[in-house]
Assembly symmetry: C2
Homo-oligomer: 242 residues x 2
């Protein structure tokens, strides 16, 4: 057996994700943390055959093996500083789910809402933590008996990150949301879930009170700031599609 | 956004598996079903840096993203017949964990027994369901809060396959095991766990009583047959290493 690396293989996307997350900032750091993050996994030719999906509708969740394609240009790192450790303690990249890893492969279990077969086969999913346009290389059913390990121990990330920030909408944000189309009715929930996780980089948490952050979410520019012990949404403006 | 497939990417193995399973026949169909299936995940250059593993020791399980490399030559299939459905009902390949899938990527959560840093970095793991020599493309910690979905529904495979076959060792097999080196002390347990799952192809189950099967396990040729309501191990012979 050859013990060196090398032996590159070639794989190709079988699907592409449509997600409300149109920039990295604000994306929950694991799937399932923002249930209102609803999107689609659109099968790509030659893998867009509805017959390949038959039977999947009985499963509540699916695994997506994807690539952190917008991180590849920056290269991988042997050591990373996980947000869970405050952003200032290093661990090995194999001990983390950081995107800057060899091969840049990611893994997310998302809830399967619906298997759509026509006009084009796709999966409607929720709890997404993926950037819009992310290429998917494999889709598998979540098998509770093999995948849900009840007694697993989670090292330095034993429990979910706190989603504890109260989120309030200021007067301008409320007025903005009044004008949002019915299609974006889930937008308010999504904003609340994403901000409750406090998407600020760890090194900024605790500093710069009042600083205004911007985040693009589902076609809207969301502006918000930390006010004391809560997060205030200031404005929600539609962005012209790129 | 380009909605066609194409855009192949190149990835390379970061590790290689040493496993007691030296042929496909007999491999449990998901990880964790045979706890005595102990092996190693050996990091490959340039990813064999112990610093990349630091912090992983606090996690009880790891995900391995691997390739079913011995299945590639046979090609992928849009529809498969899962053993769980008796081997005669088809489902789409995306609804299965079958190896004959586009890109041939696999996913296994295995128990992490030990992180070894010297002389070469490797992970000692148990509950393997991988063929010896399998190339690994990613290693991630298992995060209970994101990965262990307590309320997930498992479609046509809601529970673990029955590991209900009583396994008995015949006189010759007992004599053979007497002579097995101490290093293979776990061999008896491993044989018992693997056979209790009944590795016969679904289409043979129920037919050909008394037929003798052979299986290579951890360097030994194991011969066994179904006798009524139990499985009898007939012989356990060391195989010359290839």
């Amino acid at each position: 057996m050859d013990e060196s690396a090398g032996h590159k293989i070639s794989i190709e996307p079988v699907a592409r994700v449509r997600s409300p997350f149109q920039e990295k900032f604000g994306i929950p750091r694991q799937p399932g943390l923002a249930p209102s993050a609803i999107g689609e996994v659109r099968l790509l030719a030659p893998y867009h055959d509805a017959a390949m999906l038959q039977g999947l509708e009985g499963f509540s969740h699916v695994w997506l093996t994807f690539r952190f394609d917008r991180c590849v240009a920056q290269g991988w790192r042997p050591r990373v500083r996980p947000p869970r450790l405050g952003g200032n303690t290093e661990v090995g990249v194999w001990a983390s789910r950081a995107p800057f890893r060899p091969n840049f492969l990611g893994l997310s279990a998302v809830r399967l809402l619906q298997v759509v077969t026509r006009p084009e086969p796709l999966l409607r999913v929720s709890g997404l933590d993926l950037l819009d346009g992310t290429p998917v290389f494999d889709i598998k059913p979540y098998l509770p008996y093999a995948d849900a390990i009840a007694d697993a121990e989670g090292g330095f990330a034993p429990t979910a990150p706190k989603a504890g920030w109260p989120v309030v909408f200021g007067a301008q944000a409320e007025a903005d949301l009044e004008g949002v189309a019915a299609a974006a009715a889930g937008l308010r929930c999504l904003i609340g879930e994403v901000l409750a996780l406090d998407p600020r980089p760890a090194y900024r948490q605790g500093g710069e009170p009042g600083r205004v952050y911007g985040m693009r979410l589902d076609g809207y520019d969301v502006r918000w700031r930390v006010m004391g012990d809560r997060i205030e949404v200031q404005a929600v403006q539609a962005v012209d599609p790129v």
